[in-house]
């Protein structure tokens, strides 16, 4: 079977232009959605700077950070998941394989237990996400198996250890305020996102995106066996480390902003491969667009369907799991793996 890149640039460019336009339209429409519904005309007025009333405050003060956060988190988790899948040569892993999510969850729980402000919760979550991956990477060197298997095992180990610490903290937490806050954080939600928290994560995301963008072709070579990549002139250890650093920056910055949002890092790269093929220079930009659109769409749904907001992490699990099943069903397409 011929792959899509039989007609290389034509299809691929059209696809990305469509996704880009869809993103812009979706972002504009998202401003109107929520408990307080607004007409498109009013939204555009505010966005063009022609209105300073209550609408303006809702749009710029409350909805703008949340919409940007949703899009960025979706893009970051997708790109990070795709990058991990590449360097670990394993289509089954996602952004949290090296323990970044459980590490961040533990950091957030510690900060909440200490009664710190939300910015500190974010800072703790971000740094313990990074530390978790650092620990996993460091102990992997001493694990007896093949480099990649060792990394995955160490990630699982660190992840489960930090998950236990989090459970312990939940057990000890004050059931009237700390426990609900920890639980809510772990379910993943964008309802507490404000401009300050977006601005905290943004620089790390930008660095992560740049690192992965730089490595976007080389990741292909890293999906080959070590001896092949090495005899092709690649320093595999160094290249792998750079990709892992970039992917971890992205996932940690995303998780500390929106809590534990699963599935995206696994699902979106797979969906994207079905459209672009597995080649990373094409996969990465399209994954970012698809992930952004997907998470923003999901967030719009949880914002609109009820006043009692469903945490977005749960929503994605509800919708994502059946949707992913449909995607990977037998007899659909088998030309990506």
């Amino acid at each position: 079977m011929k792959l899509i890149d039989n007609h290389p640039l034509k299809h691929y460019k059209t696809l990305n232009i469509v996704l880009l336009l869809a993103s812009v339209v979706l972002i504009i429409l998202s401003f109107g959605l929520g408990y307080y519904n607004m007409r498109l005309g009013d939204v555009l007025k505010v966005l063009l700077g022609r209105s300073t009333d209550q609408n303006g405050w809702i749009i710029l003060g409350i909805r703008f950070p949340r919409i940007i956060a949703a899009y960025l988190i979706g893009a970051a988790l997708s790109v990070s998941g795709a990058a991990y899948q590449g360097v670990l040569k394993n289509p089954l892993v996602s952004h949290d394989i090296l323990g970044v999510a459980s590490g961040a969850g533990m950091g957030a729980a510690i900060a909440i237990m200490l009664g710190l402000s939300s910015l500190y919760v974010q800072l703790f979550a971000f740094s313990s996400g990074i530390v978790a991956v650092f620990v996993a990477y460091s102990i992997a060197k001493h694990v007896m198996f093949d480099k990649r298997v060792s990394l995955i095992l160490s990630g699982v180990l660190v992840g489960s250890l930090s998950f236990s610490v989090t459970s312990m903290l939940k057990y000890m937490a004050d059931t009237s305020d700390q426990l609900p806050e920890i639980t809510y954080w772990l379910m993943g939600s964008l309802s507490k996102v404000d401009m300050e928290s977006v601005l905290f994560s943004l620089p790390f995301m930008i660095v992560g995106f740049i690192v992965i963008f730089i490595m976007r072709w080389r990741i292909n070579v890293l999906t080959l066996s070590d001896i092949e990549a090495s005899t092709m002139g690649i320093n595999t250890k160094q290249s792998m480390l750079i990709v892992i650093i970039g992917a971890t920056m992205l996932s940690s910055a995303a998780v500390c902003l929106g809590g534990l949002i699963g599935w995206i890092g696994l699902m979106i790269p797979h969906m994207t491969r079905a459209l672009t093929g597995p080649q990373y220079t094409k996969l990465m930009p399209t994954s970012a667009l698809m992930g952004g659109i997907f998470l923003l769409l999901m967030d719009n749904i949880v914002r609109s369907i009820s006043i009692m907001e469903i945490p977005i992490g749960l929503m994605i699990a509800f919708i994502g799991a059946p949707f992913f099943y449909v995607l990977i069903r037998k007899g659909k397409r088998r030309d990506v793996y």
Binding site: M1, K2, N220, E228, T231, M232, R273
Partner: protein, 258 residues
């Protein structure tokens, strides 16, 4: 271009697998590496291509010791084609072959039009241009070998090391790969390949490195090195060697356990 391997010793950790292997090859030569399982063919290849460190001895290309070369410099001299090759993702043939350009690109670079031109010309030269957009995993074993050979050619190294390229191939695919290798030898490439039981359509110029279980190797022209006695010694059991000629004049060697 010539490669010289002198009194090489190699193994894993403290286990010496072979202790005294020497051979050399110059432009347009084909070297077969013959030996029983466990005699260290794979270890030898890993060391020769610069993937693993040697324990002792010397490897030089054009009189230059390759130990101190960077991976990128080594890649421009010597290419490696693995035996089993199943990438984690189903790339197109073109995407697989263009990876051979990695040593010519800096870390942040993606392949340019010039690189893709080299890819298409190489595929054309090997007669598989119409496979360029096919999925690699859908190809036959022989076609996959040709694709990996194309990738090695795009690497622009004149020495190609192949681990049992004819293993598990049927006659059609074996012939396809063998013809391609002969063509490359004629063009001046140095091909070093391992084989288990047979050498198809060899030429009088081809040489063999027979590795025996005691960690030593004998190197020379095929008909000088390979006979029942040397094979017995190398494999540690009685082996019958059969030399012959096929109707089109190609010579072959076949080995069977007695």
């Amino acid at each position: 271009m010539f490669i010289n391997v002198d009194r090489l010793k190699g193994g894993y950790h403290n286990n010496t697998v072979f202790s005294d292997i020497s051979f050399n090859a110059k432009e347009g030569e084909m070297i077969y590496v013959l030996g029983a399982n466990g005699c260290g063919k794979t270890t030898l290849f890993n060391i020769v291509v610069g993937y693993k460190d040697r324990m002792d001895g010397n490897i030089s290309i054009n009189n230059q010791d390759i130990t101190n070369l960077s991976k990128q410099e080594k890649a421009k001299l010597i290419a490696y084609i693995p035996q089993h090759h199943t990438p984690a993702f189903n790339y197109s043939v073109k995407d697989i072959v263009v990876m051979g350009r990695a040593s010519h690109l800096s870390m942040a670079e993606v392949p340019h039009k010039g690189d893709y031109d080299i890819v298409m010309n190489t595929l054309d030269m090997l007669g598989i241009k119409d496979l360029a957009y096919n999925e690699y995993k859908e190809l036959s074993g022989g076609q996959r070998q040709l694709v990996l050979i194309a990738r090695a050619i795009c690497q622009q190294s004149k020495i190609i090391v192949m681990d049992e390229p004819l293993q598990n191939l049927d006659f059609v695919n074996q012939a396809m790969v063998t013809q391609t290798l002969r063509y490359l030898v004629k063009k001046g490439y140095i091909i070093i390949m391992s084989t288990h039981t047979a050498i198809n359509s060899y030429s009088q110029k081809d040489k063999v490195l027979l590795m025996s279980k005691d960690g030593k190797g004998s190197f020379g022209f095929i008909e000088e090195i390979v006979n029942n006695d040397t094979m017995n010694a190398a494999y540690g059991m009685p082996v019958q060697t059969i030399f012959g000629e096929v109707e089109n004049g190609g010579k072959y060697l076949f080995c069977l356990p007695k």
